[in-house]
Structures are given as C-alpha cells and as structure tokens.
Amino acid sequence: DARVTQTPRHKVTEMGQEVTMRCQPILGHNTVFWYRQTMMQGLELLAYFRNRAPLDDSGMPKDRFSAEMPDATLATLKIQPSEPRDSAVYFCASGLVRPQGPYEQYFGPGTRLTVT
C-alpha cells in the first residue's frame, strides 16, 4: 500500500530556530506539493515540484521558507528562522500528471509544527 510519508509528525520549537520537514513521495509520482493548513486560512499551497524542478513557490514567504527536492525520493521544507505564526500543520502530497485530467494528489499524514 503506497503512501506518502512525512517526518517528523510533531515538532515543537522555539522562535528563531530552524525547522526542517521531510517528505517521501509515492514511488513513481512526478509531482510533489507542500501545503500548510490552519483553522483561519484552511489549506494553502506553498510550493510544488514537477520531476524535482520547482514550478511554483509563490505561496511561500521567500525570506524564511525554502523547499527542495534533493532526489526523487525526498522533498524538504525548511523554515529559518521560525516564528510563532508559522505554527500549522504542513502537508506534503504527491501525484502523477496524466495527459488528461487532474493530478490525483495523495497526502501524507502531516507535520504538526508549534513555534513558541
């Protein structure tokens, strides 16, 4: 049963610290998404990659967030320095682009981040 995995599942850190979240997409999927979910804003797209190349990261605060795909099995989202307003659940999703139709996105379990 192929799944997206994310680590860590929970992270509590102090303001100013660096946070790195990791995602392993489903093998064979060529598109990876990073989302942030809060009660106030709902699910927001931060960035997405196709074949490891960043296609759109306009949803990310550029001064503190960065997203990379060092290889096809790993995507990372980094926050440096972290702030209390970054507290949220961060989801990674992966999908396969088809010639027709949308991606079907498969979400990981999320990383619950609390910045104090």
Binding site: G42, G101, P102
Partner: protein
C-alpha cells in the same frame, strides 16, 4: 470574495440521513472538480473527481457539477458515523504553461450522530 466558498458547518445529521455538501466558485476556467475527506489529525484523501458538468456516482457518494451556476455538490446517502469528517472541495483549471493547479475550499465539518 474568495475563489471557492464552502459553508464551514459544523453540520450535524442523524445516522441514515442524506447529506448535501456544497461549494460555489467564481473562476469559470475551472473544469476539474474534486471532493476530499479529511479525518481529524489526518491528511485529506481523494473521494471523487469529475470533469466538467454532470453527475458521478460511487457507492453512497454522488458528485454533481453545475458549471453554468458555478456550483458543485456532494451527496452522501445512508450516512454513517464513520462519515464524520471535514469535506473539502477542490478544483483546477489548466494553467497556460505549467499544467494544473489546485484551489481548495475551506471545508465543511460533518458529524453523523448514531
């Protein structure tokens, strides 16, 4: 006005009821419509997707799209307590250069009471 609107609920219904969940949208370019279910403290999971207007049925779930009214619905028949979750609609339109992108609604929280 947000691009996709959805009543946040919570919506409480008795077991066995027919549930109707709805989204309205403003972008007429959307042509793919999806419903996701999200259990508490889990990631969203795809329930159904439809292309353009019409109905699609899958077991107890029926998705309906009315592009002329910019309105989509998800019906759940014979609702069960296990259907208690947040339901998010999502939609996409082809981008000119980069393929497709998703917009999610804020979600409706559903509770099915035994």
């Amino acid at each position: 006005q947000k691009e996709v609107e959805q009543d946040p609920g919570p919506l409480s219904v008795p077991e066995g009821a027919i549930v109707s969940l709805n989204c309205t949208y403003s972008n007429s370019a959307f042509q793919y419509f999806m419903w996701y279910r999200q259990y508490s403290r889990k990631g969203p999971e795809l329930l159904m997707y439809t292309y353009s207007s019409g109905n699609k049925e899958d077991g107890r779930f029926t998705a309906q799209v009315d592009k002329s009214s910019k309105y989509i619905s998800l019906f759940i028949r014979d609702s069960q307590p296990s259907d208690s979750a947040t339901y998010l609609c999502a939609m996409s339109a082809k981008e000119r250069n980069y393929g497709q992108n998703f917009v999610f609604g804020p979600g409706t929280r559903l509770s099915v009471l035994p």
